[in-house]
């Protein structure tokens, strides 16, 4: 057992760190660090810098631009991104649609979409949740009826993150409502957001931010060639994506950066036992999660097995830590202050409540662990 990174791993990390130091634009980093709103241009700018370096999609096969890094390197890379204060890489293209196409897409689909995802030419969003289908995704109702060489899509998606930036949306749709198992009638469709009949309506969250949307489909014609995999096999695609290796579920690097910042931001409270103990416990929990994450990576590296329900634990703990960080930040803020940073810190507390809800609520994650790890 050796908890320290090897010399090679450290060398890799230092290379990444040095490159980020030289190539992450200061104004982007400052926006991230001050909790400012990131525009579509901000996001794409950073995406394209990484694409140019060849680092925007490390997990993809080399032929499509992947780096060939092992799981530890990929983890280190993502940790460094978070720790450096880089803008997020929006996952819908790079970590969701991309991997789906790589696994299930036709050659034509791969050639058409993957380079544009890689280079940040298409901005993607994800059409999964519906007003009546949140945790119970398989109950989705948005319909796709085949008419000649098109599907006609009708229905509504909700909580669609950054749909107002998106050029494309990948959707789970019901292509057959007559199946006995609900999962069997679902297909995976790629839809151009400029198609007539699509309406995007902002959903403002409680911090006042516009991140998510409702997306309405009213007789939207989608070319049949935009069906991924087979008709009625969309659930297989969705399940694959759930099990897809994401190195960054716990957001360790990002939380480490926030924690370091919190120590400076709350320096005036470091002598206050009550606040200090909350900080200590949080730091311990984050340290533990980092090691837990490394243990899972080590097992993946040794066994070659995908992470399974481990990801659920990282999601639960990672989001709890992120929320506690924002709460400590808020409590360190001068209650009488109304400067922009203080206001941003308070609003961030509001905003981060979403983390235990989105991407499979923490309740759903506990159900997953109970079922697949514990056999209950």
């Amino acid at each position: 057992m050796d908890l320290n990174y090897s010399a090679e791993e450290l060398e890799f990390r230092d290379e990444v760190r040095a490159w980020l130091g030289a190539n992450l634009p200061a104004e982007l980093r400052e926006e991230v660090e001050s909790y400012a709103h990131l525009s579509k241009d901000d996001l794409l700018r950073w995406h394209r810098i990484l694409a140019k370096k060849g680092w925007v999609a490390p997990a993809w096969p080399r032929e499509w631009g992947g780096t060939g890094w092992n799981v530890v390197q990929r983890y280190l890379f993502e940790e460094e991104l978070g720790y450096a204060g880089s803008p997020p890489l929006i996952p819908f293209g790079l970590s969701m649609c991309g991997p789906v196409l790589l696994r299930f897409g036709s050659d034509a689909q791969k050639k058409r979409f993957l380079p544009r995802i890689y280079n940040g030419e298409d901005f993607w969003c994800q059409g999964y949740s519906e007003p009546g289908s949140g945790s119970d995704l398989a109950s989705l109702k948005t319909s796709a009826v085949r008419k000649g060489d098109h599907y006609v899509v009708n229905g509504q998606k909700i909580w669609t993150t950054l749909a107002h930036y998106a050029d494309w949306i990948f959707c789970l749709v019901r292509s057959d409502s007559g199946t006995s198992k609900r999962q069997e009638g679902i297909s995976f469709l790629l839809i151009d957001m400029r198609t007539p009949g699509i309406t995007v309506r902002p959903l403002i969250l409680m911090d006042g931010a516009h991140e998510v949307n409702e997306v309405f489909f009213d007789d939207v014609k989608v070319p049949a060639e935009n069906l991924v995999f087979e008709e009625g096999k969309g659930w297989t695609v969705a399940k694959y994506l759930l099990g897809y290796e994401r190195m960054n579920t716990g957001r360790i690097g990002e939380s480490k950066r926030q924690l370091a910042y919190l120590k400076r931001y709350g320096e005036h409270l470091m002598g206050d036992t009550r606040w200090r103990d909350r900080l200590s416990r949080l730091e311990v929990e984050l340290t533990a999660l980092e090691i837990t994450n490394l243990r899972f990576l080590d097992r993946m590296r040794r066994t070659g097995q995908p992470p399974g329900a481990d990801v659920s634990m990282l999601k639960i703990k990672g989001t709890e830590i992120q929320q506690e960080l924002t709460e400590l930040m808020m409590d360190a803020t001068d209650p009488a202050a109304s400067d922009p940073l203080s206001v941003a810190v308070r609003k961030r507390y509001l905003s981060m409540r979403k983390t235990t809800i989105y991407a499979g609520s923490n309740e759903i994650q506990r159900n997953i662990i109970a079922k697949s790890t514990l056999g209950l």
């Binding site: 009488a336 609003k347 609520s361």
Partner: protein
């Protein structure tokens, strides 16, 4: 020992609830917040119902009511998320009455004509009442009070400042100040109040009156929180009964059942402490007994506010995050209420020291 409202308290609470139901529902409130952040109509109604006169003595046309008399009103305010700066008015008027009995402003307050605010907070002081940098010298105040609730619409301030004989409260005309308006996290009007040798009238009572006033405010806040907590519990319960997933209402899932039960237990425990706070604010044997009860209540109410608000949003799922639903605004209010007049740590320290 009884926990009934008396007839007057019940009538008052009913009047307030009727008015709020008619004219201050979530949509009406949204419009008020989007516009100026307060409503002249609401203010007029408060005076007509008797709210502005309630805390002041009969000498000035008031009813001489205390914190217990205001429990029902504050609960209704908490449930409806009223943004009008009524509590600052009560605090300033009460302090004024105690510190300058014959002030002609008092009858204007009762009639709903005078708007007052209570300016005791400063940057860097956190929740300490004695960390006052604002200076009083020869009846003139210099300094800055920050995040003063209701400041943008106040015509007079009762201000804490440090004079030669220690900390005291002073009445200042708004015209002698500069007010920089803000909105709080829970959508109320507030402002920084800059004082540059502002002429001031000193009230008697000193630091003890400041502490008594803030304790009274905390008691009102606890009752307001109970109203907000009740709404948070009830609306979450309703959501659990109506929202279906996997073909059944999500309220059939035992994990969620147990969690909402714990929310209601928090609510009931907080309600009990709010009763204690109001009771002791009105009739504690001494300042120490009052302070212990108020801090104990604030500790429990703040814990409940954190617990219930976080769980309410979580159990609502994405809908809890949407500003279209009232619960997200109740979340904001409870987040602020947990900290206003002292967060849990502040009151734990105060409680332990008493």
């Amino acid at each position: 020992m009884n926990f009934d409202y008396n007839e007057e308290q019940q009538l008052l609470a009913d009047s307030v609830r009727r008015y709020l139901a008619k004219s201050y529902d979530f949509e009406a409130r949204r419009k008020i917040v989007a516009a100026e952040g307060w409503s002249t109509d609401a203010w007029k109604q408060f005076a007509e119902i008797g709210l502005t006169g309630l805390p002041l003595g009969t000498d000035h046309g008031g009813f001489g009511g205390g914190a217990v008399d205001l429990i029902g009103v504050m609960e209704a305010f908490g449930e409806a998320l009223v943004v009008e700066p009524y509590v600052p008015l009560v605090l300033a008027a009460r302090a004024l009455e105690r510190g300058a009995k014959s002030s002609p402003l008092l009858s204007s307050v009762v009639e709903g004509r005078a708007r007052l605010a209570f300016a005791h907070t400063e940057k860097g002081a956190r929740y300490a009442l004695d960390a006052v940098q604002t200076r009083a010298k020869e009846s003139r105040l210099s300094g800055e009070k920050s995040a003063v609730i209701g400041a943008p619409i106040a015509e007079h301030f009762v201000v804490s400042a440090r004079g030669e004989d220690g900390i005291g409260l002073y009445l200042v005309d708004r015209a002698a100040t500069e007010v920089k308006p803000q909105r709080t996290l829970d959508e109320r009007l507030a402002g920084d109040v800059v004082l540059r040798e502002a002429p001031a009238h000193k009230l008697s009572g000193g630091a003890a009156l400041l502490e008594e006033t803030v304790d009274f405010a905390t008691a009102l806040l606890c009752a307001e929180a109970v109203g907000a907590l009740q709404f948070a519990c009830d609306t979450t319960l309703e959501y659990l009964k109506t929202r279906k997933q996997f073909g059944v209402p999500i309220g059939t899932f035992q994990a969620l059942q147990h969690r909402i039960v714990d929310m209601y237990i928090s609510l009931e425990q907080a309600r009990s402490m709010a009763c204690l706070a109001a009771s002791r604010a009105d009739s504690a044997g001494d300042a120490r007994e009052r302070a212990r009860a108020i801090s104990a209540a604030k500790i429990r109410v703040a814990d409940a506010a954190r617990h219930v608000s976080q769980e309410a949003v979580q159990l609502h799922g994405g809908m809890g995050m949407s500003e279209e639903l009232k619960i997200s605004h109740t979340f904001r209010r409870l987040t602020v209420l947990a900290r206003e007049y002292g967060d849990v740590d502040h009151h734990l320290a105060r409680y332990a020291a008493l």
